[in-house]
């Protein structure tokens, strides 16, 4: 009589939240940064993003077909990987390189490990590391934003061609090496915040990333722990450096708004699959990411360290989870 009545374990209702909704929110959170990239790098940025997303979706679809698994494009996680990978590429990157990166991210880093939820490393960051190792020159050629009329006035970068230019973090590196004064670098702070500087497609505008990150926090798509931990630990590291050696260290806000730190703090380190489960673990993970970013920026040979910082901490995630395995609120049971 009531054939449509079903039986399943309690609870019999649920929050109106799905993985697809979470991923859609991340995409919406990335919209301000995508708009900013379209403003600064024009059609090129849109093209790279579109190519990466298409390549990621297609790779995932093919993987599922080959493994005779149900289609998983609906959860939108492949689209998120595509957008984040595109945002971390330089605007002038050859499209073939973008495609290779997308295929690597989905096929090698995600699907071979078992698909969504099982990958150890953040697919976009692992793919970017792969591209950096394989196509060094293409990955470090920085186009000047289309909205800039002339080259940055205060820093005389070695490259004289009008099309390429050093990124803000490269300037801060120069300051560390004594090739420029921090004050010269600080002159760009306003442009660094709004995004009118050279850099990866999605990382230039700290303002747009902050807006998107705020959206994720308000929607409760992410919790505040990882972004706060990353920003606080990196900020404190930079502030201490500035206090000790003001002649070579740039101000902490320059470090926070420059490079991929905002993108990393709100959109990459918060990837739930590769971050720890517990709140304590998330704090540890975020602090680790923030400190590693600053170590690489200050001590390492690279000007930027978000990618390697996230990947290194991804590898620590299972250990952090084990470390943060706590007793229930009532204490350990007496057995």
């Amino acid at each position: 009589m009531f054939s449509q009545i079903i039986v399943s374990p309690a609870p019999h209702t649920s929050q109106n939240l799905t993985t697809r909704r979470l991923m859609a929110d991340v995409l919406i959170g990335l919209v301000p940064a995508m708009v900013a990239s379209a403003v600064f790098f024009r059609f090129r940025a849109v093209l790279v993003i579109a190519v990466c997303v298409a390549a990621c979706l297609l790779s995932e679809w093919i993987c599922n077909r080959l493994r005779r698994k149900p289609n998983s494009l609906g959860d939108l996680s492949a689209a998120v990987t595509g957008v984040i990978l595109a945002m971390s590429l330089p605007p002038a990157v050859p499209l073939s390189v973008a495609v290779i990166g997308s295929v690597f991210a989905i096929v090698i880093v995600k699907m071979l490990f078992g698909g969504l939820g099982n990958n150890v490393f953040n697919p976009a960051m692992a793919a970017r590391a792969f591209l950096t190792a394989s196509f060094g020159a293409a990955m470090t050629t920085w186009t000047v934003p289309a909205t800039i009329d002339s080259a940055m006035p205060t820093v005389q970068a070695s490259n004289v061609e009008a099309v390429t230019q050093a990124t803000p973090l490269a300037w801060s590196k120069m300051a560390l090496k004594g090739q420029a004064t921090p004050e010269q670098v600080h002159a760009q702070l306003k442009d660094v915040f709004w995004g009118q500087v050279g850099g990866c497609i999605g990382e230039t505008s700290a303002a747009a990333l902050l807006l998107g990150g705020l959206y994720l926090l308000v929607r409760k798509t992410i919790t505040c722990h990882i972004p706060l931990a990353v920003l606080l630990s990196a900020g404190i590291f930079a502030a201490v450096g500035r206090l000790l050696k003001p002649d070579v260290f740039v101000r902490p806000d320059f470090h926070l708004f420059g490079g991929g730190l905002m993108l990393g703090a709100f959109f990459i380190a918060t990837d739930p699959v590769t971050a720890p489960l517990s709140v304590r673990g998330k704090w540890l993970f975020g602090i680790g990411v923030g400190l590693l970013i600053m170590l690489i920026r200050v001590v390492g040979e690279y000007p930027e360290g978000v990618m390697y910082a996230v990947l290194i901490m991804n590898a620590f995630t299972p250990l952090i989870d084990r470390l943060c395995h706590t007793a229930p609120v009532g204490g350990k049971p007496h057995v």
Binding site: F2, T18, V329
Partner: protein, 456 residues
């Protein structure tokens, strides 16, 4: 300001309350059905053995099942009738169990009408000795009516090894939809208060705290007025707690009201506390003062797919379909029939399942209420978001336990404190992948119990 301090616990969820369907419906008696089925297991503890035989006539209130074990509660006939059969019947919790089938003539059994007006502020618990109270509670077959069904006598009995000093009365009713406790708090205030004072006397508790969620200001007011009129405000106080699920969980309520934590795997008496539900207290008053056994209880029949939702005074043993018929039957949109509330209730497929002593609600959910992914049972991969850890009121790691159970790694499940789970279902409720975390954990507990049995 009574609402200033929001006492609560850490974790928990806020499901839609949906109490508006029935919160303003007064308790209504229900005509006696022609057939009643009384399962011989309606509590935690030893199952009862039938005391009656086929074709035997039984009187209202006559015991029909009993066990000699200490942790058990006898079962009584809610009608004057004849034993038709003793056979297996569907049981919401344990699947199938032996039950006594009774046949009753409705004309000879007028609906029983609750009589809360027989209690008032002049009630004196001192006329009963603690032993008398305990015996009456045992004889009446009282069990925890909030859902767990632990024999009340065992809870209340003074134990020199673990003396109880505080009695907490659970008037939270944190489950969505259910309003049976709310209605009795409004309508039977004096009867509950009489039961509370009897229970406190029997258990030897000096202080009593009545925990009520802040979404029930009327109930808070009713108790505060009653307490001031009978001049027992010093020993008995109402504590307003935050509206949050599972605020009415025993361990959570103790945490909210007293700020104390019951040890993992322990019981409340270890920290000198005893927790009773308001419905149990009302039954205690009837059992002790009028020697009336537990044969009827208030059941909320609710949900969008019910024609006439309400709070009904129902004989225990009435079948779900008889009660549904009395409420106008199911509408086409019914997708799930749940004994209890939507968070911890039991979904049933067999509508001949009888109502038991622990069943406070019959919730009928539509497909929209169940939500589409849950209805379609689409469980996707865990994305390790950690939401289940954040809401777990016991501070557990539900996803790790569930995955361990899924792979039959019971050792690993226990490393993550499988047994400490209170099965509130908050983890399943928030899971964006719609994994039945609480379902896996319950399965894990069953597997563990089976393993223990097998090893002797």
């Amino acid at each position: 300001m009574i609402f200033a301090a929001k006492k609560t616990f850490k974790g928990g969820v806020h499901p839609l309350e949906n109490k508006h369907y029935t919160e303003s419906c007064p308790i209504e008696p229900v005509p006696t059905p022609r057939q009643l089925v009384l399962p011989l297991v309606q509590h935690i503890g030893a199952p009862c053995k039938p005391l009656v035989q086929k074709k035997q006539t039984v009187a209202l209130g006559e015991p029909i099942g009993r066990s000699d074990a200490y942790v058990s509660a006898p079962i009584h006939s809610p009608v004057n009738g004849v034993v038709k059969d003793i056979a297996l019947a569907s049981h919401p919790v344990i699947g199938r169990t032996t039950a006594v089938y009774l046949e009753a003539v409705p004309e000879e059994n007028p609906p029983r009408i609750p009589q809360p007006q027989r209690f008032d502020e002049h009630f004196d618990p001192g006329t009963f000795t603690p032993e008398q109270i305990c015996t009456a509670i045992q004889e009446a077959g009282l069990v925890g009516m909030g859902g767990a069904g632990f024999p009340t006598r065992v809870k209340i009995d003074p134990n020199p090894a673990m003396p109880k000093h505080t009695l907490i009365i659970n008037g939270c009713e944190c489950e969505p939809y259910i309003t049976c406790d709310y209605r009795i708090m409004l309508e039977w205030t004096w009867q509950i208060l009489a039961g509370i004072r009897l229970a406190a006397r029997a258990a030897g508790c000096q202080t009593v705290r009545i925990g009520i969620e802040d979404n029930k200001p009327e109930a808070v007011k009713a108790f505060e007025q009653a307490l001031s009129r009978c001049r027992c405000e010093e020993d008995i106080q109402v504590v307003v707690v935050k509206t949050k699920y599972p605020q009415g969980g025993e361990r959570q309520l103790i945490r909210a009201v007293l700020g104390k934590q019951v040890p993992t795997g322990g019981i409340p008496p270890q920290i000198g506390v005893c927790v009773l539900n308001v419905a149990t207290c009302a039954a205690i008053a009837e059992a002790v003062v009028f020697q009336k056994p537990l044969t009827h209880r208030v059941v909320t029949v609710t949900g969008r797919a019910i024609a006439r939702p309400g709070n009904y005074y129902v004989p225990i043993g009435m079948s779900v379909q008889d009660l549904l018929a009395h409420c106008g039957g199911l509408t086409e949109r019914a997708a799930k029939v749940v004994l209890g509330g939507p968070m911890m209730g039991f979904a049933i497929a067999d509508l001949t399942t009888p109502l038991t002593k622990t069943c406070g609600a019959l919730t009928v959910l539509t497909r929209e209420d169940v939500t589409e992914p849950k209805y379609a049972r689409q469980q996707t991969a865990c994305i390790r978001c950690g939401r289940c850890l954040a809401v777990c009121p016991e501070g557990l790691n539900p996803t790790k336990i569930a995955h361990a159970v899924k792979h039959f790694r019971m050792d690993r499940a226990e490393q993550y404190y499988l047994s400490a789970c209170i099965e509130c279902g908050s983890c399943s409720y928030v899971c964006p992948a719609h994994i039945e975390l609480a379902g896996y954990i319950k399965t894990g507990k069953l597997l563990k119990a089976r393993e223990k049995k097998r090893l002797g």
